[in-house]
Amino acid sequence: MDPLIAPEDIPYLPRGVRLEDDRVRGIRVLQAPERAMQLDAIGDAILSELDGERSMAAIASDLATRYQAPEDQITGDIRDFLTGLIERRMVFVKSPPKET
């Protein structure tokens, strides 16, 4: 799968995509146009980090510290997971602000 996001890119949830509790089933879901996706704990952890400010690399490094996992592996997992969602237009990406 060709990645659709580079480490310095900033991933975010666009308007119309919401991370929510499914109170009836007791799970976390990502709600998007015509689609409600059930999330596992890892997916939820990744998506909860998307603040529209930090790059994928920064998020990976934070999660690697928190879960005491190798950063390379975490980066790969996040990149693949987000690429799948970018393909479905459930996650958008913006380029880092230019240095002045």
Binding site: E34, A36, R89
Partner: protein, 378 residues
């Protein structure tokens, strides 16, 4: 009013285990300024006086959310034909649902669209009947529809809603599919749904004018495949092919009574929008009962749950938990028996006949359309 059965059982009395619904189609009105000849509304349309009031919709949305529904698709007819659309949408969002608005774009002004934005509509789906004024206006039976739709699409993206384009394809517009995809891209759509006309209800009256040819279906498949590669990460393309060109039927509604429900303008609750075509089936109404009771215990929802009700060849087929025997309404329409194997399945004894009829209709030399309309008087 008859009591509901105490236990969920299918139409043969086998016990069944209802799951939880994910999505609800709320057809808040059958009124529509357009008159598409393939409209999915029933041929007998509900009149304005019989429509469920907004307060009832608010209660239905709360009951739906309690039942496990996550998304509501507010549709019609044209939902904008209801003056209280914004109030209805607001109550759906307040109930905690994800709110999709499915519209023709006709009859919703920019001001109303801004109001819908402030009330929490999450996503807008706009139907297009063609890619140029001539085709769009001819198919929708509404002169000027094209210009209005293009104006509407502009407001949708200016306000910032995610936009999906719904494009229904048939023999008269299949060749223009590449242009339709390009148009959706130009309009800034996140998704396009390309759906081949489903030949129920109104569309069935227009089979000879709309049935695509086999070559057209193959062409559409190729166009979709190419566009998916080209537009990866930019626009999602969902494609619903004509089912008689397939070997096996689609899993209609993901299985009867398993993931979705449909509330009609008068408040009756159907397992799918075409279920009214099954003449003997009785539908409960949200004016009389809770959505939860209707979902779990009504005869209509339980009739075809599970696999116990199936006949051969489905009964002994290894795919019965994958496609659930296909579409019940199609079985009713073609086999005259709602529990029969979907006649589009290659294992159905009626399959050859279905394909032959489709081929014959596809070759028919007519473009004349019967437009959807409300009966006069009555």
């Amino acid at each position: 009013m008859k009591d509901l059965p105490a236990q969920p059982r299918d139409l043969d009395g086998n016990p069944v285990a209802p799951g939880l619904p994910m999505a609800m189609l709320a057809e808040i009105t059958h009124r529509c300024p357009l008159s598409c000849p393939y409209c999915s509304n029933p041929v007998e349309l509900t009149r304005a006086q019989a429509e469920l009031p907004a307060e009832d919709w608010a209660r239905v949305f709360r009951e739906a959310a309690d039942l496990g529904v996550l998304q509501v698709h507010i549709s019609g007819g044209e939902p904008g034909a209801r003056r209280d659309l914004a109030q209805i949408a607001e109550s759906a969002r307040a109930a905690g649902l994800y709110v999709n608005l499915i519209t023709s774009g006709i009859g919703i002004t920019r001001q109303r669209l801004e109001e819908l934005d402030s009330k929490g509509v999450d996503h807008v789906q706009l139907s297009l009947q063609g890619i140029r004024p001539d085709m769009a206006d001819r198919i929708s039976g509404h002169p000027g529809s094209w210009d209005k739709k293009m104006g509407f699409a502009g407001w949708v993206t200016e306000i910032g809603f995610p936009l999906t384009i719904n494009a229904v394809v048939h023999r008269q517009n299949m060749e223009r599919l590449p242009d339709m995809i390009e148009l959706a891209e130009t309009l800034g759509a996140r998704r396009i749904e390309v759906a081949t006309v489903q030949f129920h209800g109104w569309a069935d009256l227009n089979r000879k004018a709309l049935m695509p040819t086999r070559e057209q279906a193959a062409f559409a498949r190729q166009v979709v495949n190419d566009a998916r590669i080209r537009l990866r990460g930019r626009m999602v393309i969902d494609y619903v092919p004509a089912d008689h060109h397939a070997v096996y039927p689609k899993a209609c509604m993901g299985g009867w009574g398993s993931t979705g429900l449909n509330v009609a303008p008068d408040g009756s609750v159907l397992p799918c929008h075409a279920a009214g075509s099954i003449g003997w089936m009785r539908f409960e109404n949200v004016r009389d009962r809770s959505l939860s009771d209707i979902w779990h215990l009504s005869e209509a929802f339980n009739a075809f749950r599970g696999t116990g009700w199936m006949t051969e060849p489905c009964r002994s087929c290894e795919r019965k938990n994958m496609d659930f025997g296909g579409c019940r309404c199609q079985a009713m329409a073609i086999a005259g028996d709602a529990r029969a194997t979907d006649p589009v399945c290659s294992k159905s004894p009626l399959h050859a006949q279905v394909v032959a009829r489709a081929e014959e209709d596809a070759g028919a030399d007519t473009a004349e359309l019967i437009y959807r309309r409300m009966k006069k008087g009555g």
